[in-house]
């Protein structure tokens, strides 16, 4: 009898996934987004195996092959010290994604926790304390903060992530806060309170699952912004330090070689555009699923 139940459960879960896929497929751009993101993640993970010249990611200097235009040997050309740009872009994906994941791992738990508590205790001193603190952090412009932090600590990816996270968590806090405070008055939450469920249960088991959909959409749409933020930091020299390949760094270094050696600028910039677009399209797709079905 129990095995039958488990089978039923699996079948239902599978049905749910199929339903979500159907609504996802309704807009072909969503699939483009999904495919692009998969591709980027795949490339980032298997970078050393895919890149044609993996040594370009390190301090290789090869002046005999410097500043070559795109050719069959170097599909995106080489930079001023002879490193293959395509390989550097492939490794650059790694830094960008790494940045995004670390920032999310820090900001998400903090933001959601603060938002849940503040939203549930809305219009009490807890709410005021937490949200005004959030407002303070929200007022810090990420880029300026990053500069301040990085000037104190050693510049690098770690400091950049730390700096951005200081302001980034507030975004998830706001989102969680608004959803939580509106859900708080729904009858199913009231029911849980009347039944006597503990506050922890209500926050984590009753309210949080309803947030996951909007959070997922927001995160996906945010990836693009985070990556641009990271690239901007690198652009001004505060992100990844050479020789670590980073898309922002590459764009910044290449700017002075425009318009003659255009490939040094164009391809990394294009790579940034592709990542951001991919995540945006995927995020839109998630929003479609969320809209059509009323649960995650």
């Amino acid at each position: 009898m129990i095995n039958n139940e488990r089978e039923n459960k699996k079948r239902r879960k599978f049905e749910n996934v199929r339903r979500m896929w159907y609504y996802f497929l309704l807009n072909p751009l969503n699939v483009v987004g999904l495919f692009t993101v998969f591709l980027i993640v795949f490339i980032a993970i298997f970078a050393p195996l895919i890149a044609p010249y993996p040594e370009s990611a390190k301090v290789g200097v090869n002046f005999s092959e410097a500043s070559l235009a795109p050719s069959w040997k170097h599909l995106c050309g080489t930079d001023v010290i002879g490193r293959d740009i395509l390989s550097r872009i492939i490794f650059g994906f790694r830094s960008s994604l790494f940045l995004g994941i670390i920032i999310l791992s820090i900001s998400l738990p903090i933001g959601v926790t603060v938002g849940l508590i503040a939203g549930y205790y809305r219009d009490t001193w807890v709410d005021t304390l937490l949200m005004r603190t959030t407002d303070i952090f929200m007022g810090l412009p990420p880029l300026i903060m990053a500069m301040a932090v990085c000037s104190v600590l050693t510049p690098g990816i770690i400091s950049a992530t730390f700096a951005i996270s200081l302001a980034w968590w507030t975004i998830y806090c706001r989102l969680t806060y608004s959803v939580t405070s509106s859900l708080k008055n729904e009858f199913f939450i009231l029911s849980a309170e009347v039944i006597g469920a503990s506050k922890l249960n209500i926050l984590l088991r009753q309210i949080l699952p309803n947030l996951l959909g909007s959070l997922l959409t927001k995160i996906t749409l945010d990836m693009g912004v985070i990556i641009i933020l990271g690239s901007s930091l690198s652009f001004i020299g505060l992100g990844a330090q050479p020789p670590t390949p980073d898309l922002g760094n590459m764009v910044s270094d290449a700017a002075k070689y425009l318009p003659d050696q255009w490939w040094m600028f164009a391809f990394p910039a294009l790579a940034i555009v592709i990542i951001v677009l991919g995540f945006n399209l995927l995020g839109d797709g998630f929003r479609d699923i969320l809209g059509s079905s009323e649960r995650i």
Partner: protein, 341 residues
């Protein structure tokens, strides 16, 4: 001290005010009533009457501004005794008005029904819990396959049946039903009402049945109280109420009921055509709250608020038209006990 209590709920001079920026909303403004075990008290009123607030205050969702509520003689809203009030969460349950938002959309029916069982540790282990959940589904005549469904996959009537099953999971003695069938079609309403009546007999439940549908009330309740702007206008046992309605608002409500045939039409009292808007509870009219719409308004009506008087056995009205009856404390001879101000 063992007191053989037939009384399950006593509400004494209950007031609930909400203090907002626009003014004080006097949702409940001094009401008194009591219920015996096995009673169904119908609470009727329109928007702004405070009827839902009464239910929420009884369920401890709101705490009273003034007055007290006793459950089987005990004041369970006492905030100091935290542990004690948890015990009462098993005794009193509520079914809400909107079936759509009464169930957590991200949970399966099984998880929804398991919650009260888990919280009150009614079952010892996972298997027993599942068994109890299946029993509950059977009680409300829903198929076992519903365990794995999400609320968005089932109909509105079925959602309400799940809410009722959830309320019954903890074996309560008192259930507040806040317009349980207002959002449903007549055919489903009939099914659910029958089910509720059966449960009442089987489990000896007491219901506080809130609705605006007097025809429904006629077939469900054994006593009725009419509320307007936070106060009770009239309260009586059901036969007396329909035979001899006294308060002008009661008559207006009864006149507005849409009925299907001549027989019912003849049962309606003197026709009072509904006119005027319901005042906002932030700016309650002075004196008797109903005077702005009352066809029988006298001069005294906008100056003094009338007091509740007894006009017949168990029949109480709050209206200046009946001021000749003396208000007094009554101990009724047969099982009903009422305390009036």
């Amino acid at each position: 001290m063992i007191k053989l209590q037939k009384e399950i709920l006593t509400v004494k001079n209950l007031k609930k005010y909400f203090f907002t920026k626009q003014g004080t909303v006097k949702a409940i403004d001094g009401i008194n009533f009591s219920m015996n075990i096995g009673d169904t008290l119908g609470l009727v009123g329109e928007s702004g009457s405070g009827k839902s607030t009464v239910a929420y205050t009884i369920m401890a969702i709101y705490s009273p501004t003034e007055g007290e509520i006793l459950y089987k003689g005990e004041n369970y809203l006492n905030k100091e005794k935290r542990k004690q009030s948890f015990k009462f969460k098993k005794e009193l349950q509520i079914v809400f008005q909107d079936p759509g938002s009464s169930l957590n959309p991200s949970h399966t029916i099984q998880e929804i029904l398991e919650l009260p069982i888990k919280v009150h540790k009614i079952a010892k282990n996972k298997e027993e819990r599942l068994k109890k959940v299946k029993e509950l589904l059977e009680m409300v005549q829903l198929p076992q396959g519903y365990l794995y469904k999400y609320p968005s996959m089932i109909g509105t009537g079925e959602k309400q049946m799940i809410s009722i099953a959830r309320a019954l999971a903890v074996n309560p003695s008192f259930i507040a039903l806040d317009e349980p069938t207002s959002a449903l079609d007549v055919s489903i309403q009939a099914k659910i009402i029958r089910m509720l009546m059966d449960f009442q007999k089987d489990f000896n439940l007491s219901y506080l049945f809130i609705t605006h549908d007097l025809s429904l009330m006629r077939n469900v309740a054994n006593r009725v109280a009419i509320m307007y702007l936070g106060k009770i206008c009239e309260i009586a046992i059901i036969e007396e109420f329909f035979k001899n309605p006294l308060h002008p608002y009661t008559k207006m409500l009864l006149s507005s009921i849409p009925v299907l045939n001549e027989e019912e039409e003849s049962l309606k009292p003197e026709k009072i055509i509904s006119k005027g808007e319901i005042p906002s509870p932030v700016n309650t009219p002075t004196g008797c709250g109903f005077h702005t719409r009352c066809p029988k308004k006298m001069d005294i009506c906008n100056q003094k608020d009338p007091k509740m008087v007894e006009v017949g056995k168990g029949h109480f009205v709050r209206c200046h038209l009946f001021s000749q009856f003396q208000s007094k404390n009554i101990k009724n001879t047969d099982k009903k006990v009422m305390i009036i101000n």
